[in-house]
Amino acid sequence: MAVEQKGWDRNQMAARAAEELEDGMYVNLGIGIPTLVANYVGDKDITLQSENGMLGMGPFPYEGEEDADLINAGKQTITELNRTSYFDSATSFAMIRGGKIAAAILGAMEVAENGDLANWMIPKKLVKGMGGAMDLVAGVGRVVVVMDHTNKAGESKVLKACTLPLTGKGVVDRIITNLGVLDVVPGGLKIVQLADGISEDELRASTEATIVN
């Protein structure tokens, strides 16, 4: 059984991340907890991009209505909406690299106080590839990371410097973990919010990175 996580659970983290989104935004959601964010946007007018060539990603299809020609970047069958448009991969990453996507909400293995992000490889383990992650963090307007604050061994994933190969250098704007919300600011991280039932001391104790406030 998984150890009970302190603070927010996965859905609460996703709900908190959804607060980052504003009406009219075009947004890219990564795999894992970020995918859950779509459940919490409420009546905000958010358009989801799937980087394999789609704006206006809809929910999973009803059973029996799966279409091999309609998948998301996680290769899952999905559906279209009445605002949907399709395009090729070069056009898709043109809009990502060109800063047209307002925000990406992504998972991470490590984040550093200078905004460095590592989420694509662990040396000597299986290397699957970065997919579109490097393009996303380099190109989108705002990068929000959603992840557990510590690893299974209880060690902080919010570091002074990343130890894993980087996905992007100085790219992260905000970190949302089970313990709270931190912003990347000059000199380190700034605590923006504490998760329910988490004290500032607990957050500090679980954070290796410099906290400036």
Partner: protein, 234 residues
Amino acid sequence: MKKVYANATEALDGLLKDGMLIAAGGFGLSGIPELLIAAIRDSGVKDLTVASNNAGVDDFGLGLLLQTRQVKKMISSYVGENAEFMRQYLSGELELEFNPQGTLAERMRAGGAGIPGFYTKTGVGTVIAEGKPVMEFDGQEYILERGIVADLSIVKAWKADDTGNLIFRKTARNFNPPAAMCGKVCVAEVEEIVPRGSIDPDHIHLPGIYVHRIIQGPHEKRIEQRTTRKREEA
């Protein structure tokens, strides 16, 4: 100028050569040129370098060419779905050049568009930047990426007319247009060849100038991850 061929083997006749660079369309198993891949396997051509976002799965898509050891090197962004790939890569039998997905797509488009190099922020400060020229624009660092020109492009579309004008369907478009653009020769497989004039010229996704040979055939169109919701959730 006849572009329509009877089958994948005939369409590839004279185009395959050991050691060549092939650009392939598709994302995961969606929109992959499955008939052409099978024909390339049957041809026995070897030492291939293949530029493709993914490497298929063990028994479908480009995975077929890995089973037979016809691929020397892959240029891809994500290969996580293929155990045989991993085995060959970790044992040193297969070379692998990782490209960020958008960089790979843009490299293909650039190669097809006569652009030998372009600057991008993607990968700056990561292993991807190692050995690549850097230039500063407006105070920010960018790395130089090269256009890819392939000896052969293999793509999958939904429909074609006999002049090679192509239309794609939904997210099966993906890497197919940039892959087609970057090939010195491009062979396309489609689900249906339709009469000239039956596609509105404003709806054509890829003009026939990019497509040299066409085949029509039955496609398995395998689904990699069948995710659904129940009707009562509606």
